[in-house]
């Protein structure tokens, strides 16, 4: 199905006093629109429009920019913006300003604004702004990854389809694996950790999907891979190429909620047996991994938690182990971010990103997710409805129930609405509309009544009906022929007799 996406990003570029470049085309304030096209395949194109407003600072903003550090300035500027989802504000500060540390040209804050150092003229500034807009909203690769099933094979790398697919909800399960309960009595205060550290992140992500969290403890659950003993470090090592075999043996025991159909993200904390402690994960170069954890795209993550050997060898077993939940959650939440595709790599040079703190992700990272998910949702709706239409063309006698029909109409209306909102730059409304469209289209496509079972090949039809009707038809046809012959004779006779 062909789709032309128009993604509009409203940007405001605010010049602090002393930072206005000399070569502005028009006096402030003025508007500007830049368009860029990303062509995904022959029939799908994505046009991004950066609708930029250039203006100078207000008095309040100037006061906020007087702060000592960039972080404080960002916090002071936040209440002054009416930042809608998807919009960006970039403050240009003078080249000599001390807000940005040495060597850093761009500082990206926790919300939807950034501070840019005015270096060079307008052209250099425009390039910086372009890079910044791409970091904070979407890049060609993030949009193509969202539209991955439309990209011709071979163009996408093999790892491009590894982020979680857009879904209405996700289930997160935290599991503690204790293979050696005789030696380690492991206690983890997971409820407190979830309330303190995980819930703020999930609250931030609640716009994207519904999350449900559960936890469990599994005893005598082993990894399925035997670690090697390394004499030099007197520890056990799990090499990188044995990690792919770890997940399957343990997965059967993990379980999941029978009722929900949402994708499950499993986070496992493994406390190695006393005889295999300490256990370290090696990366490809043989160095131990600092986090001692690994993750699998679209599945979840596993972290190995080593227990220190007791001071005296006579210590009574089982040893009580109180898990340091902060250390564990730092890794698990980082893995959660990676599973969603929010990584902080591949930044342009001289960029500094503010850390999101306990919220887990910044506002502009949430926007990135929303852009990708909205585009993915609309593309999915389009593909689903097209294939439903093709199915109906092919199999003429499927009956479409009224509620399936109304779901289809709803899906089409919502998808059109979403496209319109995207073109207008209203990311929040576009995302809601796209979610509604996907729900309706999935309900219509996967309706149980659409299963068409009976397949009558033509040769079977002949084989059944001909032996039945041919013998009956022979006398009928012969008598019809006789009637016709007699009628013709009767017509001829009167003329003959005359």
């Amino acid at each position: 199905a062909s789709a032309q996406f128009q993604l509009a990003v409203p940007i405001a570029v605010v010049f602090a006093p002393g930072s206005v470049p000399g070569d502005l085309p028009r006096p402030l304030p003025f508007r500007d629109v830049q368009e860029m096209e990303i062509s995904v395949n022959l029939r799908t194109t994505v046009t991004s429009r950066y609708e930029t407003v250039y203006r100078s600072t207000t008095a309040q903003e100037e006061a906020a920019l007087e702060a000592a550090t960039a972080g404080e300035a960002d916090a002071a500027l936040h209440p002054l913006q009416d930042a809608l989802l998807g919009s960006l504000t970039m403050y240009v500060v003078p080249e000599t300003s001390s807000l940005l540390p040495q060597g850093i040209s761009v500082y990206v804050g926790k919300h939807r604004s950034a501070l840019v150092r005015a270096e060079g003229g307008l052209a250099a500034l425009r390039i910086r702004l372009q890079e910044l807009a791409q970091v904070m909203s979407f890049t060609a690769s993030s949009i193509t990854a969202a539209l991955s099933d439309r990209v011709p094979d071979g163009q996408l790398g093999p790892d491009a389809r590894r982020h979680l697919k857009s879904s209405l909800g996700y289930e997160i399960t935290f599991s503690l694996l204790n293979p050696d309960p005789k030696s380690h009595a492991v206690e983890w205060d997971i409820e407190d950790a979830v309330n303190r550290y995980v819930q703020p992140v999930l609250d931030k992500l609640s716009l994207v999907a519904n999350f449900s969290v559960d936890s469990q403890i599994l005893y005598y659950a082993v990894l399925g891979v035997t670690p090697r003993f390394d004499k030099e470090s007197s520890s056990f090592l799990l090499s990188a190429h044995s990690l792919p075999h770890v997940i399957n043996p343990v997965e059967a025991r993990l379980g999941s909620s029978a009722a929900s159909l949402y994708p499950v993200l499993n986070f496992l904390l493994y406390v190695p047996e006393r005889s295999h402690s300490p256990l370290y994960i090696q990366d490809k170069d043989g160095a131990p991994v600092s986090t001692n954890a690994f993750h699998s795209p679209r599945w979840g993550g596993i972290m190995v938690y080593n227990v220190e050997a007791p001071a005296s060898p006579q210590a009574s077993l089982p040893l009580r182990v109180d898990v340091d939940m902060v250390r564990v959650m730092e890794v698990f939440l980082a893995q959660l971010r990676l599973l969603f595709g929010l990584s902080r790599e591949e930044l342009p040079p001289k960029f500094l990103l503010e850390s999101p703190g306990n919220e887990g992700l910044t506002d502009w990272e949430l926007d990135r997710l929303l852009w990708a998910h909205t585009v993915e949702n609309i593309a999915t709706v389009s593909t689903t409805l097209t294939s439903l239409a093709q199915l109906l063309d092919k199999i003429g006698n499927i009956v479409i129930k009224d509620d399936v029909a109304s779901e289809v109409y709803r899906a089409v209306a919502a998808a059109q609405n979403a496209m319109a909102e995207l073109a207008a730059g209203h990311l929040h409304l576009a995302f809601q509309a796209s979610k509604e469209a996907v729900t309706s289209s999935e309900r219509a496509f996967f309706d149980p009544s659409l299963l068409h079972l009976l397949y009558f090949p033509d040769d079977q039809k002949f084989a059944i009906y001909i032996p039945l009707f041919l013998p009956m038809a022979v006398p009928i046809l012969l008598s019809l022929a006789k009637i016709v012959r007699e009628a013709r004779q009767r017509k001829k006779e009167p003329t003959k007799m005359d």
Binding site: S148, D149, D153, D159, R161, R162, K165, E191, D192, N195, P200, H241, L243, P244, H245, N248, A252, S256, S257, A259, S260, L261, I281, D283, V289, S290, T291, A293, H295, S296, P297, R298, W299, G301, V326, M329, E330, V331, L333, A334, Q335, R337, L338, R344, S355, G357, N358, G360, T383, S387, Q390, L391, F445, F446, D447, P448, L450, L451, L453, Y455
Partner: protein, 313 residues
């Protein structure tokens, strides 16, 4: 990985099975294929063509639990293995239904439209099995069959103790081949195509790879069997502020000292054991006994006559 198993399941616990709850692959009883970790999701009357197509296409009633669904996405490799009685273009389900190769091909196309699989491996062990994969037209499908059109697939040896043939030849040799594969194995699909040549199988196994995009030489067996996952080392962490707390959700735990609970006496056994036997009172015989005796006496006198009474008494 997730397994959806559909079995008529009338063999392992069949009353005529002298080795109950087991299904061995050979009479030497080495490999029990119906072991502890086998979970049957659809059994006996639930195994119908309709349910099978519903599982594949996802058009399942909303009340179906997770374990009975195929929750796959565009990165899932799916293995479908079917066996039973079949013919040219069909496979029998439960002695009453058939699934045709056209229906199967359409179901796979529906799966492809919704990107419910990345690659699909289809193995079928029936008579004339190759006819089942002739009609596939969706990309990324590789198919293997135990016999060509016009040939029968034969079963392996019988177990005379049980009285039936235990396994089909093709399945037996494929199982033997797969038991040798471990998760790190580099064996590829071309080796699987060579399993069970005509000398062992009597029928000619066939395969179809034209719809598959990768070269079978480069496809590892473990891509479909053995579930080797893509993993990445986690190199990032986020920094959490230890002090920030959530709401105070911990309720104060008051432990009240309570009396130890006693289990109430359910049955006064002591009283029953030491009970004296109840004295039965005498009752005169009831109507039935009286009637029965009256009948016996009447018959006696009818037979022998009244006058013989004095000779008897």
């Amino acid at each position: 990985s997730h397994i959806v198993l559909m079995l008529a399941d009338d063999m392992a616990c069949n009353p005529r099975n002298p080795k109950p709850a087991t299904v061995f692959s050979h009479k030497n009883m080495e490999l029990n294929v119906y072991g502890d970790d086998v979970e049957v999701d659809y059994r006996s009357y639930e195994v119908t063509v309709e349910n099978f197509l519903r599982v594949l296409t996802g058009r399942i009633p909303p009340s179906t639990p997770r374990s009975k669904r195929l929750l796959s996405d565009d990165r899932s490799n799916i293995l479908i293995y079917m066996t039973g009685h079949g013919g040219n273009g069909f496979l029998k389900f439960q002695d009453s239904e058939e699934i045709t190769n056209v229906e199967l091909a359409d179901a796979f196309e529906q799966m492809w439209q919704k990107r419910r699989y990345n690659e699909l491996l289809f193995i079928i062990d029936t008579c004339q099995g190759a006819s089942m994969y002739e009609r596939f037209y969706s990309p990324n499908i590789m198919a293997l069959a135990s016999s060509q059109v016009g040939e029968d697939s034969l079963s392996h040896q019988p177990d005379l103790g049980i009285g039936v043939h235990l396994m089909d030849r093709y399945t037996f040799y494929v199982l033997e081949f797969l038991e040798e594969i471990h998760p790190a194995s580099q064996t590829n699909m071309n080796d699987l195509f060579q399993v069970c040549p005509k000398s062992l199988c009597v029928s000619t196994p066939g395969h179809r790879t034209d719809l598959f995009q990768r070269d079978p030489q480069n496809v590892l067996i473990t891509d479909f069997f053995g579930s080797v996952r893509k993993v990445e080392i986690t190199t990032e962490t986020i920094s959490l502020d230890r002090g920030l707390g959530g709401f105070e959700s911990k309720l104060p735990k008051d432990e009240l000292a309570t009396e130890p609970l006693k289990y109430a006496e359910q049955l006064p056994v002591a009283q029953i054991i030491h009970q004296k036997p109840k004295q039965k009172d005498w009752h005169p015989p009831g109507g039935f006994i009286l009637g029965l005796w009256a009948l016996i006496i009447m018959v006696f006198f009818k037979t022998y006559g009244i006058k013989h009474m004095k000779h008897i008494f």
